[in-house]
Each structure stands twice: as C-alpha cells, then as structure tokens.
Symmetry: C2
Subunit: 536 residues, 2 copies
C-alpha cells in the first residue's frame, strides 16, 4: 500500500508540472481498472461456501424422487434391517455327537455395554451416540444413495463411472434422448456442486443456462439434440476433496439421476524394489518387533534372523523401564516411555518402516530354515492380498495359524454385532498352502502402506490382537500360508513357576495383569459394536 | 484322529462280543455318514478360488456391452485424456503490470525424472511402470466402470446404492419389468460373485436357477412377475473384503447392468470426549513435536504450553545423537536412532496419540494467549474438516498461514502432473477467519485417525512439508484459520553467523545439507508424477 501511494504521488506531481490532462485521465482510468481487477480477483477467491448444506439438500431431493419409483418395496434397506437388527446370543450346539467340542466349538456372546460401570453407562451411551452421528454425517456420500432407473424412459445416461477431479471439467458420456416423434424435444440438466456448459455448439439446438447449475437444451430435430448431448461438459465449481454430486436429467414426464464423483485422484505410494531379477529381501522387507524386559529372547531372535537374512533391517520398539542398548548393523532401537504399551509399540515400529513390506515378529520368535520370507513376498507380489500370516511352531511341535473369519451384522442404532469364528474363507488358487481369512496369527508380512493405513491403536496398552484385524475390515485383504513357519521360544518352561528366569517373572507380572474391560469398552465405544460373539 | 480310532476299536470289540448284526450295520452307517458330512464340510471350506479372474472377466463383459450404447462418443474417458495428457511447462506472466511479481508469482515447472542419474533412469522407469501396473490392478473395481442406461428399456432396476456385506444376502430393491402386452414375460439375472434366490414364492411365476449365478424368471402375468421381482435375493458367495459384482439384467432385446458393492462394513474409530459441556482440551488433544539438538527451544515450547494447558499431553520424538532426558507430567519422550529423520519423527509422534485430535507444533514454537486450541477443536467438531492449520507469527510481526491449493492432472502412462499454488478454495460459512485449502503451514490440528491414515513417509529424512499434503489428497479435508496464532522463536538471530548459539550451529549443519533430489525422486516413483509445477 505504501508503494502504491508513493507511486501515485510522484505521478500526480509530474502531471501537475506538465498539466497533461490526458495523462491524468489515463492514470485515473488505470487505477480504477486495477482496483476493479483486484476486487474481482479477491471476491472470487473469497466466496463463502457451506458445502455440507448443498450436499444435504441434493441428497434429500434424490430420496424423494427415488421413493416414487418403488411401489410396495421398502427402498431404505438399512432401515429395514435395523428394525430387525442382530440379536446378541451364542449358538446352541446343533449336533450332539462325540467330539462335538473339537469339531463344533461353542459360540459365546458378550453384551459389550457391560464393560462399563452402571453409573457411568448413560453418559457413555450419550457421548457414543453423538460421536457416531457426527462420524456418519462426515462419512455419507451421494454416491451411496439408492437410485432406481425408470423403465420405458426415453432418457439415456451414464449410471456409473463418471468422475471429475475437483474444480475441473469432463464431458458427460452417454447422454441421449430417444423420444418418439414430437414437435419440440427438451431436456433439462441440473446439479448442486457444478455447472454445465457446451464444449461444441451444434446447429439448430437452443441452449439456456450455459455455464449455470441448470441447463435446458431443446431442438425440433432429435438427431441434432442427440449430437449436442454428446458435447455436454460438467465443471465442478464447489471444491470438495472427496464427494459426489447428483445430476438430475429430465424430459417431459420422465426423470433420471446419476452421480458424478468429485475427488482428488489419490496418489499411489509405490516403493522401488531395486534392480535384479530375484526378490531382494533386504530391499523389500523390514522386520518389526516390540520388546519389554526380554532382552535375552530378543537377542536370540536377532541372531536367528541374521543366520538367514544378514542385512535385513530390524526395527525394535522398547518400553522397558531401564532400556538396555540393542546395537548392531541394520538394527534400529526405539526407546519409549515405560509401559507405554503393546499396540503403541507395534504402531511405533511400523511407523518407521521405509520398505515396501513389513514383517511382524514377536520378540520371542526364532527364525529357522522354514522361515522363508520369499514365499510371503511372492504371494503379496502376485495377488491382491495386503497381509499374509504364517505359522508359529511351539516346542511341542504344535503349529498354529490362528486363522479366523470376522463378520459384522447390522444392529440398528445400538450398534452392530461382531462375529469372530475360527476358520477361513477359501484356498487361494496357485497357492495350495494359503487361504483367505480375516484374521491370522501374530507372525505376518504386510504391505507397509496398508498396515499403516489401519494402524495399531495405542489405546490398547496390555493385550490385543484381533482388534487390529477388526479395525482392518474392509481395508485389508488378509491371507494365511501354513508353510512359512517361525518357532516360538519355549513357553512351557516359562509358564512353570520354577522354570521362569528372572526376566520371565518380571515380564509376567506386567504382561498378565488382572483382566480389564478395556478391550470390550473399545469395541463398544470406538467401533460402535453392541455385541461380540466368538467360538475361540 | 487317534480318539476316533480308539472309539471305533472299542465299539467293534463290543459288537463282536454280542454279535449284534444290527448294531454293526448301524455303526458302519454312522461312520459312513459321519465321513460324508466331514468330507462335505471340509470340501466346502476348502474351495479354491481365483477371485481376480472372476472380477476381470465380469468387467470385460461389461465393457463390451457398454460400448454398444455409445455411438460416436468415446466411452473410455481416461484413455481420451491420456492421449492429450498434461504438458510440463511453467506459465508465462499474463499481465505485464507493476507489482506483477507480488500479485502474480511466476509458475515454475520441474521434469521429475531429472531427479535420477541418466544411467539409472531406464531401470527406474521399468520398475516404476511395473509397480504402478500392479497398484492399478489391485485398486480397480467394477464400481468404477462406466455403465450407461439404455433408453426405452422395459427394465427397471437400481443403478446405485446396492451393497452387501461379504457372504451375506440382500433383497435387490427396485427390480421391475414394464413391457407391453406379451404372451410370456421373461427376465434373466446373472452375476459373478454371488447367487440369486427367491425370498418369497409368488404364484404363476416360473423360476429356474434358484440358488445359482444365473436365474431365469418368467410368467404369463406381468403383475405376478413384477411381484416376484420384489423378492429377489442376491447372496455373495465368493469372499472379498472390498469389491463389487456386476449384475446383468436382461429381457428379450434389452440389457442392463448394475453394481452390487461387496464390502465389510468399515468400523468407525471413535473417541470418548469425556463428560462435561465445554471442550476438555486435555482429553481431546495431544500435542506432538519432533526435536533434534534444540533442547533449549523445546523447553521454551513446553513452558509456554504449560501456561495455558497445564495437563495436555506432549509427545516428543527425538533423534538427537546424545539424547537428554525430557521429563515432566504429561510428557512422553521417545528416543530414535540418530538422524533417523524429520518425517520419521513426525510419523512416530502421531503413532502414539490416544486422543481424538493431535496438534502438530515445531519444537521452536511458542504458545501465546492467541494460541487458542479451542477454536481449532470447534471447527473440527462442527465441520467435515479433518485438519485445520493456524498461523505462525515471526518476531517481525509477519504472520504466515502458508495456504496452498494442490491439483493433479492426468498425464497418461508417464504419470500425472502435480500443481501447487499459493491460495485457497473458499471461506467456510460460519467461520469467517477460516478457509478450505489443500495444504497449510506446519502448525495444525488434525483428526488422529485421518492423519494416521495418511501418515508422514519416513523416507523423507531431511526436508519435507507439502509431501504430506500430496499424500493426503482425496483423503483429508484441509482447512486453515488465521486467528489461531503461535509464535516462532527468533529465526533472524539464528540465521546470522554471530547470532547462532552452539546448538543452533549444530542444528544448521544437519538440517540444511546440500540439496538432494530425494523429494523429486519420491514424487516421480512413489506418487507416479511426471511433472511438478509451483508458484511458491
């Protein structure tokens, strides 16, 4: 501003000296023009928008028009299911035969609100309901609303697949009108988050609202109208990084609606596997573990890894009270506050990985010649799996894969039901030792980007395992191969009082405290479940 | 197996003793029956599936049928744009007027592949192409394919909004047939990832393929057929945690297709804000920071925070060479390997947060009475924003919000173009000091679950800022409020050689090394961009 004033003063002095009226007028006009440009520029970039309001009214309009199509069929499926809702009960044993317990483990059910003290429950429920409603409002999108295509409609239009990056334009594909003979053909397009325009003008077609949120296109000649409909551009004008607009398309007596997704293209997060034909395990995989007081076991793990993978990086999260140094090539040791916790340590470890894959190992595992990480890399490279578990072999020879399936069932306003069952979905073609499941044992390799997207909730301080897989539902494609085996350092000895070393004893004291309601309280509040059933 | 054998032996002995033929026969039948049940059970749960193959062929079929609807319009929009593709060039200054540099900063363009040595580039490009193709294959879904609704079709069907949880069933809403008079009405439904069945039987309607992947429904009475079409159930039989099936719906001379989304319901990750009417900042917010050698500045930050928020948790990630203890109530200090890095430290800090929101602050910030975190909480609680930046005030009084918009432009097989511009999208209604943008300054509050979903890539060891926001495109809704101000500890003094303290000098030595190509090489490989343009 100071510079501008100085400029003006100098100019005025010069003009007074020469008394050139033309120059004075020219200067004034320049200033007025500049101010107008500036004002226009500022006001354009300072438009005030309530995006949520627009989206809400757009979806409301759609729900009303959608309801007309559906006579005698309840169109709000979620409401229908909610009225029925899932019931929180275990299963009775169907077949009473020998070895039923082995073949058909009993399903138990837990009412999750019982994790809270009765006196606090009401407050918890009120806050839970408020948080959930806020979450749902943020998560909803016009792209999920039910739309039904009318029969015998002369309108042709795209029902899926139309996407635009924010504040950009696309030609809408597939628009058409296939009316019978009429004297005048007219279609109307309208939207809430963008405008329509013509990318090519076609003769004998009249367009009103070019560049507006509603555009009318008419012509006496149907072929001309259809040709024009091939050049309709939609431009998103109201910014949102990830939403959908609903386009209403209508002609006399008929209506249609379709979604235009408005979204920033999500950039991929790729990793360079490095040159070479073979899998370079050290370039592709980092081993992550968490330790607490068990430095002896940790050293055994590291030494066993080094026999097979001498240069693989090992990340160690450590929340021991008096941390000891853990050093060596390709070892990264992270010190945490004392007892920060199990999932906090897991989340820390994975947060530091710079390779495409991360292998989770507990600090009391031992690598053997059966611990072939190449097999895990192979299945992750060749399928859509995001995480593949292996098998953990106890001293007794018993080998576990801990395969589970998890499903959720709509339970209405009170929350859904969470079902966890031993087992898996199906075998993976081409990998006869591998299956698809929803949860696996605590020895697995995962895509770093995916496992970080899900994360290990640091609120789980002492115990937790399936919670990670519950958080991963709908995000991670989980598998399990029983031919990649790691050994578990002896647990039997450690479980006998006289068999425990001093560190084992200290570990047990912290690791196995009195049971708490923390896990169920998180399922109830955090994940909004009302019930958990399980047969393991 | 051992128990079964023992059981059989005992039984056989008993029968031999009594020579009851009936019992012997009964036993044999039980065994055969049991084996049959067991075999059936095992084979059902061990079905071998190549899910990807099914999805691929389903989408292929759709592309062929979709192509028929579109005469004269190129239906593969992405291909069309790719042929044109974005061009990597800066902008010339449009208006040549005084103060143009201030008002219209010049846009520069960078060809990102130049970040690599010429000798290594070819290998990089080959691996980049392979990784990107794999990524695209994993990311594609039938729900994104272009589908066009035929005009004048007697078929009525849902075009959007049909979803089913894996391995469960739903009644398909909105199916109908509105033919003219015919002697026989017939419709065919087919799918790839599930089967159809009748939930209620309607008289005078013939159904074949009940429980199969293709079902034919016919009747001489149109009202009866339509009534039956209200009771068609789709059951997902081939498990996938997040995909879509395409249902083909046809009658004589007409075809339609629509998507059924198959997805585990993604559980919410809610936080209990705790009782009370006011915002309990300590219960809702954790402050996260990273420090390196600047313990004096860090202490200043902590003391300034404590003046206003005495019980708020502060998480400190520290990768100094000789870490000093940082202690105090509600302080969590994490020790990292020396020089692990800037984004690694940021990712570590946010990985430990157990509150709904996290506030990022640099270790050389100072809280003042203008640093009202309540304002940030308010906007995050009331809008769909996931992250809101504040303003950083230098000693000079200059206050920066560093607002940027980011957009990407399709660039074809070589990669997209990344455009970063100073500025914002629009003002937020109800919050006159706040705007929507795509990137903000390094002082912000964010939803913990969202910021962890994006993450800070630990591959960015020394410098990085906008990379986080680029990774967040399409995921985070970003805002900026200029009325929440934090002060920046003096930088001017620190920039003069004689004004630096010893720690400042050590810090500068590590923090500002010779420029590297790391950032551009990551934009090129990791995010698959070919060009970056910027005007800041």
């Amino acid at each position: 501003m100071t510079k501008t004033r100085c400029f003006v003063t100098t100019f005025l002095k010069a003009t007074l000296r020469t008394l050139r009226k033309k120059v004075l007028v020219g200067c004034l006009l320049t200033l007025i023009f500049g101010a107008a440009v500036l004002h226009h520029w500022i006001s354009n970039t300072s438009s005030v928008v309530n995006v949520q309001q627009r989206l809400d009214s757009s979806m409301e309009k759609l729900r009303h028009s959608g309801a007309q199509h559906l006579d005698n069929v309840s169109y709000n499926l979620k409401q229908a299911t909610a009225r029925n809702g899932c019931v929180c009960e275990g299963e009775k044993r169907g077949v009473n035969m020998p070895f039923a317990d082995l073949l058909f483990p009993v399903v138990s059910a837990e009412d999750l609100k019982l994790a809270f003290e009765a006196s606090k429950l009401q407050g918890v429920q009120e806050r839970r309901k408020a948080e959930f409603q806020n979450f749902r409002k943020r998560a909803q999108s016009a792209a999920d609303v039910l739309i039904v295509a009318e029969a015998n409609s002369p309108l042709q239009y795209p029902t899926q697949g139309v996407e635009v990056r924010p504040k950009t334009s696309i030609v809408i594909p597939g628009l058409g009108l296939k009316h019978k003979s009429r004297s005048l053909y007219l279609v109307i397009l309208s939207a809430s988050m963008g405008t329509f325009s013509i990318s090519n003008v076609v003769d004998k077609v009249q367009v009103t609202g070019n560049g507006q949120m509603q555009m009318n296109i008419s012509s006496r000649l149907l072929p001309a109208l259809n040709r024009q409909l091939g050049f309709i551009m939609y431009t998103n004008t109201i910014f949102h990084p990830n939403t959908a607009d609903i386009v209403h398309y209508s002609t006399d007596g008929f209506q249609a609606a379709f979604t235009v997704k408005i979204r920033h293209e999500v950039p991929p997060k790729l990793y360079d596997p490095g040159p070479g034909d073979e899998y370079n395990i050290s370039a592709l995989v980092t081993i992550a573990t968490k330790t607490f007081l068990r430095y002896d076991k940790l050293q055994d793990l590291i030494e066993s890894i080094r026999q097979f993978y001498p240069t693989i990086s090992i990340i160690i999260a450590d929340d021991s009270e008096h941390p000891k140094p853990v050093t060596g090539p390709y070892i990264e040791h992270y010190i945490m506050p004392f007892r920060k916790g199990w999932f906090a340590g897991r989340n820390l470890a994975i947060s530091q990985v710079t390779t495409k894959y991360v292998l989770w190992a507990d600090d009391d595992f031992i690598f053997t010649d059966k611990t072939r990480l190449e097999k895990m890399v192979k299945i992750l490279e060749s399928t859509t799996l995001d995480l593949v578990g292996g098998a953990v072999r106890e001293v007794t020879g018993y080998t576990a894969t801990y395969r589970h399936t998890i499903s959720t069932e709509d339970g209405g306003e009170e929350g859904d039901c969470l079902h966890m069952r031993q087992g898996f979905h199906h075998v993976i073609e081409g990998f006869p030792n591998c299956v698809v499941a929803d949860a696996v044992i605590n020895f697995f390799m995962a895509r770093t980007e995916k496992i970080r997207q899900v994360g290990f909730d640091p609120r789980l301080a002492r115990v937790g395992h399936l919670e990670f897989f519950v958080d991963g539902l709908g995000t991670m494609h989980v598998g399990s191969c029983d031919d990649v085996i790691v050994s578990h350092a002896s647990k039997i000895k450690g479980m006998l009082p006289f068999g425990q070393s001093k560190t084992d004893q200290a570990y047990s004291k912290f690791r196995y405290p009195a049971p708490s309601n923390l896990q169920n309280s998180l399922f109830y509040f955090k994940n909004h479940f009302k019930c958990k059933t399980s047969n393991s």
